[in-house]
Structures are given as C-alpha cells and as structure tokens.
Symmetry: C2
C-alpha cells in the first residue's frame, strides 16, 4: 500500500461546503492510487464556541472535563467528512482517538502521544476505505480523554504517518511556508524546500503554519512533510532532509516574529546552579515552555536571570516566583508584557559568519534597543520593545533578501 | 451506599444556566446522603443542530457516522455539568458510553443495551464523586459508537439503576404523568401513582413523558421510577408495582392519542399463515414497530391485512410491499396518513367490563367512524380520522373522569 496521511486544519473544514471541498481533494488523491488517511481538526470556530460554553459555566474549568468537552469538536468533523465521502460514492470510516487507542501522557490539555494502535486503520485501508481520524485527541492509560494542546492535529498526523511509514501532507489556509508571515511582511517569499532543522527553528518561533512538535516528530522519524493550501492547487513547501542538491545556499531561509511572549526578570537570587536548576525545573514541571534565557552573576554573588515564556503562563510564573520570594525575601522581579521576539533562521549561518553583527548593526543604526539575545547554530533571536516589531521585520527582511523580487 | 440514578432530559439542560440549576438539584440530593449517578441528554437543540449539519452534507447520512456525530451531544453536556458541580466545590467525574463500556447491539441509531460495566462508576462513587454519564449512547462489540434511538437516555438511566440496584428518578419539563397529555387536554389530571403495566401501555402510546423501553426495563428489574419536574419541587408521579393499598380502583387511569402513525392496508394477499409471518417478519427485521394489526380472510381465500406503523418508516413499508407486489401482482395496497390513534388504559378494565362498549357508543353518538380497533387486557385503542382527534379526547376524557375536578 502506498499510504499518504493528509491533515486538514480548522479553517479548511470550517463549514459543510468546505468539508465537501476537502472530500473532493481526498477523492482526487485516492483516485491517484493512494491509500488515504485523513486527520482533521474541529470545524472553524467550534473549539472557541466550546471554550466559551465552559467559560459560562466557570472561570476555571476542570482540565479533565475540559478535554471531555473539547474532543467533541473533532468528532463532529470526522463524522461529517466521512458522510460526505460516503455520499460521493466512496467507502470511508471515521475513528476517534479512543477508538484508535491513541495513547498519550496524562497531562490534560497538553498531553503527548506515546503510541498509536494502527491495526484498525490498516484493516480499513486494506478494505479500500478512506480512513478519517480525529486529530488533537487521545486517551491516557486510564482511558481518560486527553488533548494534545497547540499544534495537536499536526502532531497526530505526523505520528500516524510515522507509525504507518507514510508521507504526510499538511493542508492549511496558506500556500506553504514563507520567509516570513505574509500578514506581517507583505513581500515575503514562499519557500519551495526547507530542511527539518530550519523548519523546527521557524516553527518554534511561532511561524504559524507548522507547530514545532510536529516538525520535530517528522524529523525524528524522517517523515517527508508537505505543506500546501487546501483551497488551491499551487505548489506548496516540502520539508525534508537537507539535500545536497541545493544549488545556491541562502544564508537566511526565514524570519519570524512573535508578540506572544513575556519577559520575566528575577534579580538578587542567591547564586548557585542548584537554584537555577530548581527554578527552571519548577517551570518545566508545569509544562511552561521557557524560550530565551539570559543569566548573569553579579559581583555580590547574586544571580540575575531573565527569560521569556508564553503570555498564557504568566500566572504559573508569578506563583512559582512568589514562592521563591517567600524563601529569599530580597528577590526582586518584574514582568515585561510588551516585547517582540524577532528571529532569523538559516542553515547558511553555519558557514557564513557575521549574521549577528549584521543584525546588531541594523538595530543600532535605527536606535532600537536589544533587550535580550540568544543564538543557536542556525538561529539568532532577539527581543525588542513590541512597538518596534514592524520596523525590525522590514529592515531585516530587506537586509537578508527575504522579500520577493518584484 | 444508597445510590440514586437521576436522569435529566434535553430541555432540563438546554442552557448553561439550566445546567447550573440541575447541578444544584444534584447537590441537594447528594447532601441528603445519596450517592448520585446522573444521566444526561444532549442540550436542548444540540441534536437538532447536529442533524441539520448532517442533512447539509447529504440527504441520507450513513448510520454509523450519524451515531459518531450524535454522540458528541451528550458528551458536551456531561463535561459542562461536571465542570458546574466541580466549580461549586463538589467532586464529580463524567463518562461517555465508550468509557463505561455500555455494550449495545449493533444496529446504529436503534441499538439496545446488552450490558454495562459499572466498575468505574462504583469506584468513583466510593471515592465520593458524583458520577455524570452520557445517556442515549453506547458501543457495539467492535467499539463502534451507537445510539439507542427514542427514549434512549431514559433507558440508559434505568439500565444503570438496574445494574447498580438503585432507584431511578426521571426529571423532565413536566410535573409527572398526566391522565392525558395536557397540551391536548387542558383539564388533564396529574397521576400520583401508576403501575408499571399501565405506564407501559401509556408509554407505548406515545404518552410523551416516558418511553416504553425504559418502563419495560424498570418493570423487568423492579426499579422504582419517579417522574417529576426539573424546574419545580412539586410532587411527581411514582411508577411501581401495582400495590394492594389503592383505596379506590379507577377503571381508566389514562388516555393517549397520537398522530404519529400511518395505516397501511394490503388487499388480495394469498391467504396463508406463512405469508403473514413473512410480511411482519420483514417489517421486524427492519425494526419497524408495527402497532395495531387487523386481519381478515375473504371468501375468495385472499387476505386483507391492515396495520399501523410510525410515519417515519413509510419508505421501508413501501419497499417491502413493493417487493410483495412483484411476487403477487394482484396485490393492492394503500396508506392512510391522516389517522389519529386514541387509547384508554387502566388496570380496572380487568374487572370492569363494558369499557369498549362505552367507547363505541360515544363514537357512534357523534358520527365518528372507527377505522380499526385493538384491545389488550388493560387497553383499548382505536383509529379515527385525524381531524376528530380533539373531539374524541374531550368526549372520552369526560366520559371516564380523566379531567381534574374544578
């Protein structure tokens, strides 16, 4: 069997008409001789509607019951899509996370996939059925319903592709991966081909289209990922191994910016690696995704620690640091909520030095203060005040040739 | 443990505010020392909304996928109700049909419960949790989602009560069982106590409040059933064994009328018991619920068969009789869609003769043609033209004292 796993996101299945159009796209693939497995998200605004129902009930819905509620969203989509396929004369069958025994960790709303039992999927494919699977959801060891959190449906798709030895196609509302989010940089270019590594960096920067977890999983199992538009036949972006066939190596492949983080700064922490470990361990225990970290020891033997975390985790950070303050009363801390994190990514950085210098010079020439910097082998990220975001994007986009040639 | 199973129907949980009110009602019961298991239906119009989504996709949705779709309705309610209970400081946990392994037969949309695994329910009750269960749904042996059809949630509640050895309370939007549907007979009286047998007859006549299957199951396992209003504290109706303590035995306990049936008449069928068996066997195989049957053999050795079935099954009946016509070309048949079926029910009929005569006289006095009659030990049903429905109800209601004393 030549299996392909296709994933359609919430905007792709936002209405019955769109679901019917998706059915046609699936049928086209199927008629090309592929055995098709489809992963879908909840329809458009369904998740928001369910969230607001929960909010009407209580300000802090119990996480287990929240997952019980949210998992209905994809279940609605899989049934409607299967009906659409069947009504068009094709054989199709839908499965929930529970039915496929998509085993996850226990943490509600942020669960991670441990394993998938593909026997029902394979049986159905051998029976010439199109298989439609609810993304974003699974069950823990006790058969409690769990959801996978952000990027969950992409992760479901890649995990299923990995288990089935299939390739994976992600259909979405944009035509592929761009050098920069086109909503932020109008002249951004579509990228034909990008390596897993670059895409992971881009994704971890919140470059919209693909979520980090899904790309990481694709990289781990070497699943070719193709990202394209649900609504057009334009060629999308292929995410795969860094090939040797790249004719010209660009230094910077893409850029991303995000307003979704906050910067937390803690001063006067007694200096010790133990304290550093404890602080970030506590954040990790609560699944708070710490991104940039800057750390300095003062002459007085105190630590200065600054880090960025998602805005949504602010309450957790405040609670954790509040507890530290009970232990060390001279700790001072502040949270900066108006920051923009700008990043440039490219395999070319490995061989081309001076990228950081070029960035710093551009900031300096324009009197933009850099509040924090981190670098990796193929990425440079820096934090500026949020009102500089647009200016920085334009400056850097032009400086590194990330815009389309008019 | 003193377990009570409470069931709240769709109108009782139609909005978040109503769900919160239901939570208060449950908490009251719990604080009286009961271990409470709650069965809920989908919120008010949810099922209709899901049905219309399916209709948008296709005119004839595949039954398995339809059940996949519909089961989300109760799942939404159980999560919201559990959240409400938890937010009010009580420990609660919700379960879907799949999670409790509510095993049913395979026929989608009309499945029947075979067994329920109550171990998770008992564990949760022992853990002092209020248990909230999705009604109307289960899984077949292959873990396909099934729905129980009309009266499904009541049946879920009674089945769970039977397995737990609990009593069962059905909360709904009326204050109990009435001698006649008050929407049809304004002066109808509420009944304090009614026997299983009478209630089964009333329910099988479509007397709204309780569905036949649920009462039948309650009777089988001798589960005391209490029917009352969600929205008031008025005393409801107790359904239980025919007691010996009834001070005065009423002849007729209640009356029902229905416009939901059609009358199918088949003429010129070759007379044989085999043919009768085959015809009704074919209807039974399709789960068509034949109610009244009238049958006569003509002098020419042909059969005349007339029967009533639910309006919704008209297409099935037409197909089956169409096939008969292929075999016996001189068969004639007609379907009368404008009939009203009127019934009176009462244990008192056993000892009081002349009920039928009284009915026939009332019809005759008013020039109302009786198109069909069937009688059982405690029931008389007859069919009249649908436009006589209201007139017959008033006549018979007064004749048998089914109206409240002003």
């Amino acid at each position: 069997m030549n299996i392909v796993v296709q994933k359609y996101g919430g905007t792709s299945v936002a209405s019955v008409d769109k679901i019917k159009a998706v059915a046609d796209k699936i049928i086209k693939k199927s008629s090309e001789g592929y055995s098709v497995v489809v992963i879908v998200s909840a329809m458009g605004k369904t998740t928001d509607e369910l969230l607001s129902l929960a909010k009407e009930v209580t300000d802090s819905p119990e996480p287990r019951e929240m997952d019980m509620l949210l998992t209905t969203g994809e279940q609605i989509t899989i049934s409607l899509l299967s009906m659409a396929l069947i009504s068009k004369g094709y054989s199709a069958i839908s499965f929930t996370g529970h039915q496929l025994n998509i085993k996850t960790t226990s943490l509600h709303q942020k669960a991670r996939i441990k394993d998938i039992n593909t026997s029902r999927v394979i049986d159905a494919l051998e029976d010439n059925k199109i298989v439609v699977v609810a993304g974003f959801q699974g069950v823990n060891d006790n058969y409690e319903y769990t959801t996978l959190g952000r990027g969950g449906s992409d992760t479901s798709a890649v995990a299923l592709a990995a288990k089935l030895g299939a390739k994976c196609e992600i259909y979405t509302d944009v035509e592929g991966i761009y050098t920069m989010d086109p909503r932020k940089l109008k002249m951004a270019r579509k990228i034909d081909k990008i390596s897993y590594e670059e895409m992971m960096e881009m994704a971890s920067l919140g470059a919209g289209v693909m979520h980090y977890r899904a790309v990481e999983l694709a990289n781990k199992y070497k699943i070719p990922l193709y990202v394209a538009s649900t609504f057009s036949d334009e060629r999308g972006t292929m995410i795969e191994f860094e090939g040797e066939d790249s004719l010209e190596e660009t230094i910077i492949t893409g850029m991303a910016s995000s307003l979704d983080d906050i910067q937390v700064t803690v001063l006067n922490l007694p200096s010790s690696t133990g304290n550093l470990y404890r602080l970030f361990g506590q954040l990790a225990d609560k699944e708070v995704n710490v991104d940039m970290i800057s750390h300095m020891i003062t002459e007085a033997g105190k630590m200065y620690v600054s880090f960025t975390i998602p805005k949504e985790d602010i309450a957790i950070a405040e609670e954790i640091i509040g507890n530290w303050k009970k232990e060390y009363s001279d700790i001072k801390w502040e949270i900066n909520k108006s920051i923009a994190k700008i990043s440039v990514v490219g395999l070319g950085m490995r061989t081309h030095s001076g990228v950081a210098a070029k960035v710093f010079k551009a900031m300096d020439d324009n009197n933009i203060e850099i509040k924090m910097v981190t670098t990796s082998e193929i990425k440079i990220s820096w934090v500026v005040d949020s009102h500089f975001e647009e200016k920085v994007i334009t400056l850097v986009g032009k400086a590194f040739g990330l815009v389309s040639i008019e």
